[in-house]
Symmetry: C2
Subunit: 229 residues, 2 copies
DNA sequence: TTCATTCTGTTATAATTATAACATATGGGG
DNA sequence: CCCCATATGTTATAATTATAACAGAATGAA
């Protein structure tokens, strides 16, 4: 049983470990040290060992970690072997793209159903999942054990739909709408994909880079002027 | 001129501030205190004041912050007024969905061009942007000042295309492929959108929730048994 | 105008997170 | 079988990040 609280920073590194381990496994590497893994991920060996030690002792002194076994441990920690069930609400552009393109099963999830309010969309099938009417949502939730709702409705509807979902037993929301879902039941788990937030932080670093270059150029120019005198 | 290095945590909160301030502005709120803003975002007033103080003095003692002015300051810090130019490489499912749906201009960016390797896609137009052949990429980069590349190629191609972009002047990559881009030039700015990482960390918290509930149920059962004796 | 109240910017403190150090266990070579 | 090199798990230390405390400026009511 888990005892100590594991920090969110650690949790967010786990999927990266998983990805790298899958890659190593695919390329035939069967053992790896924290030092080597750290180099490949840009992390210190200390951090890697401490991250893993939150969950148990997965390595062997003098040998390192077994890639395949470690991969499976992390997959299990992340719940990939629990068969979580998801529904998708809002089959617009992004919702449809997710249904069409994102492989839920690759990550241990099942996309069990999708819902939309638009009669023109209801009844269409993508990747084996047929879109149902929002009218069926509550009945469906009552009759099926669903873990996660993928929220891809227009942002105007986001808050209301999120509340509806939480009030009817959904405990985790994968939020693709560009709004803060602080309102729903405080026990609800919310994970955001905020495209614009991501692009804007990128923008900050690009701007910083330009400023640094401009400052550098100005410095050179001053030196040039000083030399002329 | 910026002097002290601002932490990444602070930068990642800026877009959230921006979003909330836009929302407040839209609903007619013209002034706000750090206390009030903190409540709405789930942050402490201290943290908010310290975040802002990294960039200047935007508030007024005894009054608070002017919503509109603060919003513009943050937008400027994030580079929204610099007219950054982006290209998109790889017009598959997600690439096309971004072109179709994501409003670059809303965040101060211009999507100047898109590229794909598939002749069936080259020449098509989405949202005013016509897809060009990858053969034109290098010439285009040489002839145009581009700041950001949106990387939406299949993951097998990701590393190679990223390297190509970096070697030809691109200094920032908005990476939608499910690979770590640690390889490219170390000076390149990389911002990742890893759908699977996001879903997996959500999975961790869902699993944790289930474990806690199971532990709680077990505790209740033990108490029940103890009472029976 | 005066004064209590509000609320900032900043400094000080606490808490968290990452890094380094170390003691110990394992594997493999001679 | 013994010993060295390797590499873990853990404890100790450093660095970072968040929170709290505070001094002072502006507001608004009387």
């Amino acid at each position: 049983m888990k005892r100590i609280k594991v920090s969110n920073n650690v949790i967010r590194r786990l999927p990266r470990y998983l990805r790298k381990l899958d890659e190593l496994k695919a390329s035939g590497v069967s053992r790896i040290s924290s030092f080597n893994l750290g180099q490949q991920l840009g992390l210190t060996p200390s951090q890697i060992r401490q991250d893993f030690s939150c969950f148990g002792e997965f390595g062997q002194q003098g040998y390192g970690y077994n890639v395949s076994a470690l991969r499976d441990e992390i997959a299990s920690i992340l719940g990939m072997d629990r068969g979580f069930k998801a529904i998708l609400v809002g089959v617009g552009n992004i919702g449809h793209a997710l249904m069409d393109n994102f492989c839920f099963s690759e990550w241990g999830f099942t996309l069990a159903a999708a819902f939309d309010i638009d009669p023109a969309i209801v009844g269409t099938t993508t990747n084996g999942v047929t879109v149902r009417s929002m009218d069926e949502l509550l009945d469906y939730l009552a009759g099926n054990q669903i873990d996660v709702a993928v929220l891809t409705v227009p942002k105007e509807a986001a808050s209301a739909v999120a509340k509806l979902l939480c009030d009817n037993g959904i405990r985790a929301i994968w939020n693709f709408t560009n709004v803060e879902l602080t309102e729903p039941n405080s026990t609800t788990i919310v994970e955001n994909i905020h495209f614009s937030d991501s692009l804007l932080s990128l923008g900050y670093y690009v701007a910083e880079r330009y400023d640094e270059e401009a400052a550098h150029a100005a410095r050179l120019e001053r030196m040039e002027k000083a030399r002329e005198q």
